[in-house]
């Protein structure tokens, strides 16, 4: 009997908790529950809150229990510029389909449209953010997913604008299919390891489309970075994989498709760099493999600033760049092999698809332009071609061992 009672109590407990799990709370402007905060207060763990279409003027909404919050037809949550809008401090929270506007701007606190703090297994998807300071801010959290969000900022100056998606001390986060524009940094990772950034578009941001700081073992692939202040910056990080991304039209005096600073053991494979002032700017980066990338119509395809050792550039296409490679020293420890250079003028007598004379990608003129930038105006002049030719015959200013011994005759396809 006692045993039966125990069992039935247990069953009832399981049953009620199951009901609790499936319970749905509706929020709309003329329902009994008309604010999101009160809905959260009434909800039990694992409830679902459905927010109907309408405008909700609320800020500092704290989600402190595992809930699923779903917006129907994109309800507007208006922060009225007063501060942070949604803060998640519990594990297993899902936020889906909201339209958040008017996040407060502060110079002392990083107000975000949605902040996740010390939580695990969160999902943030189908969110639209406008008029924001920081967009989605993930702080000391892990195993989360950020999908299909659209972040449209209106940043004008760097000092008073925030980042679209920011990760801080957060590991194992997946960021996919997001669209970020007009913020400071599109996506920013600081001290965040093992993250996957895939299929995002980051455009017209003030600073970087994607920015890594002290983050290791991350992968970013199939993203598009277009027309940002300075493309993508990868700094002080190790073992990052950069695959199949597109870097386009990052124009300006300090604009790069990709900026590498103090990066070790990375892989850069299958990316496209098109019409950037500088395709890749490398500084203090070692043991990086560059393979199967396309460098098309850039001002400088690759600019090597110094302290770069044991990098390997294999099987890339360098097409119609004003300068293929620029070096500022005479020392070279990097390997260039089996690339296709559209500026290669050699021949292939034995018809094995590999040019018979080595190609020297560093021109004397790029050395002169490094010294006196104004001379760029003499680009493609006959005189410059002549001095480049004489330098090619007997290198004096450029590293004499920097050459591609197996330049390919035909453009590589993969």
């Amino acid at each position: 009997m006692k045993c039966f009672l125990q069992h039935s109590v247990f069953l009832i407990l399981v049953f009620t908790s199951y009901i609790g799990f499936s319970q749905t709370i509706n929020v709309c402007e003329d329902c009994s529950i008309s604010s999101i905060k009160s809905a959260i207060k009434q909800a039990k763990n694992y409830d679902t809150i459905v927010i109907k279409k309408g405008t909700y003027k609320e800020y500092n909404i704290v989600i402190d229990k595992p809930l699923t919050i779903i917006g129907k037809n994109y309800p507007v949550i208006d922060g009225e510029l007063k501060g942070e809008v949604i803060t998640i401090i519990s594990n297993n929270v899902t936020v889906d389909g909201l339209f958040v506007i008017n996040v407060g701007t502060s110079y002392t606190e990083d107000y975000a449209a949605i902040r996740v703090r010390r939580s695990k297994h969160f999902v943030i998807k189908n969110i639209v953010l406008e008029k924001l300071f920081f967009g989605i801010y993930i702080e000391k959290s892990s195993y989360g997913k950020i999908y299909h969000n659209k972040i449209i900022g209106d940043a004008i100056e760097e000092y008073n604008s925030g980042n679209g998606i920011q990760l801080w001390y957060s590991n194992h986060i997946e960021i996919e299919h997001n669209y970020v524009e007009h913020v400071r940094d599109g996506i920013y990772l600081e001290f965040s390891d093992d993250c996957l950034i895939k299929n995002n578009v980051s455009a017209e941001n003030l600073r970087y489309g994607l920015h890594f700081m002290f983050s290791n073992d991350d992968v970013y692939q199939d993203n598009t970075f277009e027309n940002n202040g300075a493309g993508v910056a990868v700094m002080f990080s190790k073992k990052i994989k950069m695959l199949n991304n597109i870097f386009k039209e990052n124009w300006g005096t300090a604009s790069y498709g990709m900026l590498l600073k103090e990066i070790n053991d990375a892989e850069i494979i299958g990316n496209t760099f098109e019409e950037n002032t500088i395709g890749i700017n490398i500084e203090g980066s070692n043991r990086i493999t560059y393979k199967n990338n396309n460098f098309t119509n850039n001002g400088w395809a690759i600019k090597v600033r110094g302290a770069c050792y044991a990098n390997r550039f294999l099987e890339n296409n360098f097409l119609y760049n004003s300068f293929d490679i620029s070096y500022n020293s005479k020392v070279n420890d990097n390997v260039f092999d089996k690339n296709y250079w559209s500026n290669y003028t050699g021949y292939d007598l034995d018809k094995n698809g590999v040019g018979d004379i080595p190609y020297r990608p560093v021109k004397l003129f790029s050395y002169i332009v490094n010294r006196t930038p104004e001379t760029i105006i003499l680009l493609r002049s006959l005189f410059i071609d002549l001095i480049d030719f004489s330098e090619k015959v007997s290198p004096v200013f450029t590293p004499d061992n920097l050459m591609d011994n197996n330049p390919l005759i035909k453009k590589i396809t993969w």
Binding site: W251, G299, I368, R371, I377, R380, F383
Partner: protein
Amino acid sequence: MLKILKYSFFDLMRSRWSYVYFAFYLLLGIVLLFLNNDLSKAVITLMNVIIVLVPLIGTIFGVMYFYNSKEFTELLLAQPLKRSSIFLGQYLGVALSLSMSLILGLGLPFVFYGLFKSNTIWDFSLLLITGTFLTLIFTALAFNIALSNENKIKGFGYAILLWLFLAIIYDGIFLMTLVLFEDYPLDKLSLIGTMLNPIDLSRTLILLKLDISALLGYTGAIFKQFFGTSFGLIISFIMLIVWVVLPVLRIVFKAKKKDF
């Protein structure tokens, strides 16, 4: 003037040299397209050719034509005709027939290759416009040289020297100046230096289209204004027109005073 223009023009159209010139460009266009299979790369190569060859051919041809038709010019001078119309007619006849060879010779292969369907059409038309300008400028300069020098050998010598100077030596001096004075702000100097040489000017004009991403790499407000907006394009065209007008004015002026 129109009558003389027409006469010079048709005279040149019948001559072997225009055909050779036309055939050369035709062949160049076909070979480039055949080897490259890529319009935009062909345009870059063509730019190098046009910037160097068009001025050379313009100067040599202009000087040659002037000396060859000297007897005919003297015959015309005996008629009641204005001197300016005689010389301007001859000048325009040469310049126009050369430009036509250039435009047709390069245009035909590109049109057959599908220029109108590709997006390099603007780059290409810019190329032809600068080529035409260069022809006009250098033929005028050649006429100036021929008018000032009775001696044929001297005239040819000066013509080649002029080309050599503007195409190569000028850039060398320019580069040396920029490197020597690298401690000073050089934005203005470099832009002015470019304006003073028609070959550099047309090169810059084409660079604006082809290498804009590299040009924007330099930090300088004046550069940025010049290259980043249509300002540069407009100024360059105005300067090219000035470069045509000044030598032509000198032809008129010189022809009036010259004793034949």
